[in-house]
């Protein structure tokens, strides 16, 4: 299959289906909850099967597309063609997959719709190896509006980081369609922390102690599915960390709804036009 088709399929599938781990977490939460919280989770699980069978987006907010191109240092790459590949594939996926056109230009003025859900936000970075990995987040804004950035004192430590995340969810309450998934970026500069808080959703490996502790603290807030209260306010926390300055401790939090829609495409050997 051509790279373009693979991207189109992956992005459309992400709008209709959640990752395996997210579905498992939702099913487990359904078993644990009762009353109205259980009713909400039942609707969420029903919704997943309806979107699959009707072949329409599971949520009408198909989001602003966030893309992260991780380029292997030994990959063949024509960066102009790579950018074009991403943009044309997304444009086609949005049309074919019936994505909502949720992007406006002139953000603080007229706010006129761009009409094609473009442009995406694209980040490029280098990594080891000879492949290019494209990561996509369909980022809904009910949850994005609850995201935060805090420049902590350098001595605030682990507890300070945990509190910054928990406070973010305290303020968010039922707005971001809980139970939520949370990405946390710790360190770097202010902007780097923010980008890491999205890269974190593509982390591999087991949940760390810090991630579990943050999740448990959020779950004590009793926000619950749809804000109905209960044990499950957060279904997963992903933390990414990098070195920072002696004078600071940046903490960025990306709040993602239960509809944690993401896709990954690996271009083996890189991409120079075919």
């Amino acid at each position: 299959m051509k790279a373009e088709e693979v991207i189109i399929d992956a992005v459309i599938e992400a709008s209709r289906k959640l990752p395996f781990d997210a579905v498992k977490a939702l099913e487990k939460a359904y078993e644990e909850e009762e009353g109205n919280s259980k009713v909400v989770l039942k609707a969420i699980l029903d919704n997943l099967s309806i979107s699959k069978s009707l072949e329409i987006p599971l949520c009408q907010d198909t989001g602003m597309m966030w893309c992260w191109a991780e380029i292997g240092r030994n990959a063949r790459v024509d960066i102009v063609k790579l950018e074009k590949l991403i943009e044309t594939s997304l444009a086609k996926a949005f049309k074919k997959g019936l994505f909502r056109t949720s992007v406006v230009r002139d953000a603080m003025g007229e706010r006129s719709n761009t009409g094609d859900n473009l442009p995406p936000v694209i980040n490029y970075s280098l990594t080891s190896g000879s492949d290019i990995t494209l990561h996509f987040l369909l980022k809904g804004f009910g949850s994005e509006n609850c995201s935060s950035l805090t420049m902590l004192n350098p001595t605030a430590g682990r507890e300070g980081v945990i509190e910054a995340v928990v406070d973010t969810m305290k303020r968010a309450g039922a707005k971001p369609c809980p139970p939520v998934f949370i990405g946390v970026g710790v360190g770097g500069t202010m902007d780097r922390a923010a980008v890491m808080s999205k890269e974190a959703f593509f982390k591999r490996g087991k949940e760390t102690d810090l991630e579990r502790e943050i999740k448990e603290r959020i779950n004590k807030l009793n926000i619950g599915p749809g804000g109905m209260g209960g044990k499950n306010s957060s279904l997963g926390v992903f933390v990414k960390e990098e070195p920072t300055h002696i004078a600071g401790l940046p903490v960025a939090v990306t709040v993602n709804c239960w509809a944690e829609r993401k896709a990954e495409v690996v271009l083996l050997g890189g991409y120079d036009g075919d």
Binding site: N36, L58, G229
Partner: protein, 172 residues
């Protein structure tokens, strides 16, 4: 408690905060920009552009419609952003609201004063609501694209009552 609401309606005092409410009938769809325009239009002309009394507004902006269906994915959007406009619209007769998430104190007060109703639809469940929508047509402001005002006919829309007509707010 589980209960039903048929719209338009003249009486919803049987609904209590915390109840599961299945909504059927007519819904008017409006979100951010449409609220802004509705308020300025009413202030200018002195009349409402569609009948408010007994009707409900649904905070939503759908994804495009698939062939053969009435509407695309169509779950609720965050109600909070409509808070600054709602008390005015409630005072003009649009007393039933469907959206997601909590409301401001001012909205709670307006619901209590005018005997309104705020229902929460299930956030993110756009496909589910699409499957329960029988028809849809654009009523106002088509130039707003996914933010235009629509008129829907729906069946058994699942919601939870967050603020009832007595001003009681559901707390987990």
């Amino acid at each position: 408690m589980e209960t039903k609401l048929f719209l338009p309606s003249q009486n919803w005092s049987h609904i209590h905060s915390g109840d599961i409410v299945y909504v059927s009938g007519k819904l008017y769809v409006a979100r951010d920009q449409a609220h802004k325009l509705l308020v300025s239009e009413i202030k200018e002309k002195g009349e409402t552009p569609f009948p408010f009394e007994g009707n409900a507004v649904y905070y939503m902006g759908p994804s495009p419609t698939k062939e053969g269906m009435a509407i695309g994915s169509s779950g609720p959007t965050t109600s909070r952003r409509m808070d600054e406009f709602s008390p005015f619209l409630i005072s003009k007769g649009l007393k039933i609201m469907i959206g997601k998430g909590p409301r401001s104190e001012k909205v709670v007060e307006a619901v209590k004063e005018y005997g309104g109703l705020y229902l929460q639809a299930f956030g993110g469940c756009g496909a589910l609501y699409a499957s329960r929508t029988l028809s849809s047509r654009t009523l106002l402001y088509p130039f707003l694209g996914p933010e235009a005002v629509l008129e829907l006919e729906v069946k058994d829309f699942p919601t939870i009552c967050i603020i009832d007509s007595r001003g009681e707010v559901f707390k987990p």
